[in-house]
Symmetry: C2
Subunit: 199 residues, 2 copies
Amino acid sequence: MSYFVTPIAKLIEEFEKLPGIGPKSAQRLAFYVVNLPPEKALKLANAIKEAKEKVKYCSVCGNLTDKDPCMVCNSENRDRSVICVVENPRDIVAMEKTREFKGLYHVLHGAISPMEGIGPEDIKIKELLSRLQPGEVKEIIIATNPNIEGEATAMYIAKLLKPLGIKTTRIAHGIPVGGDLEYADEVTLAKALQGRREI
Amino acid sequence: MSYFVTPIAKLIEEFEKLPGIGPKSAQRLAFYVVNLPPEKALKLANAIKEAKEKVKYCSVCGNLTDKDPCMVCNSENRDRSVICVVENPRDIVAMEKTREFKGLYHVLHGAISPMEGIGPEDIKIKELLSRLQPGEVKEIIIATNPNIEGEATAMYIAKLLKPLGIKTTRIAHGIPVGGDLEYADEVTLAKALQGRREI
């Protein structure tokens, strides 16, 4: 015998499929939703439907957007000579929050990972190359994650870009602000040393 | 400027309202949903709508159900002489999982809490009393939570039931199975001592 009536069991099952939601949290969420006023539950259901229906990938940079091209690609205030290459759209949000970067983006939608069978042709590297009109783009900042896959992807792209004469840079590795030297791993600390700058 | 396009921002906002979901998790969930195949996102949205539409409270015991009366109240295999009183429908799930209890339930939908302005008339105590046909119910097991509100509620109900000549019991407090004496708080340990049984 199941402990839940069918509609609740189904809802729990759906919540459990979400990342970071285990059986206990799914149960808690389902009971919470069932106790919501009907209009609030509907608002959640509709937000899911609407986000799925309206949000597409930008045909230029691959970011998530409800208009094509996206806000960044369409903006007249962005510096079109710099493209920041990231692994996924969430990384764009993180970059935008710094308010430091005023260029364009390119989303790879993944990173090269031989372990998972993801090769250079499986991520949007071709699309990046086809955006590089001669003369317009002066710098590519590679902001893939600082792990094996991200580094491999960065090296691969840098190698492709070298013959095109476009400056390719990589974001700095080092100790996070507010971090503690004592607890930093040795690879990060080594990178922080290598990347030292005069003050 | 918002970092998200409107449909994503809305979805994040809706996810953030759920219990235990902070801004970061909400963002993660929203991006996950947007990346789902459309039919899977719809399944989640529909499960929410359906659970909200189909699930009601049982008119007898107050449990969540899609039929009225609920499965337990309707079942011929349950012992109608015992009613277990719990604070909310999730507690019924926990009780059912023990496979130890074969009686009926009564959900109070809360506990007496003067701090929050919840008095005896705000929870389903009247409804419990009206279920007690003379002769049919022989025992009421009070399984409210072992905190101040739950204890107050248990005492209040026990006092009401005394003149009716119905046996009223309270679930045992003690050290959880797998727990450690060393880390048990003194109140629990005292309760465990008081509740000791011959072996």
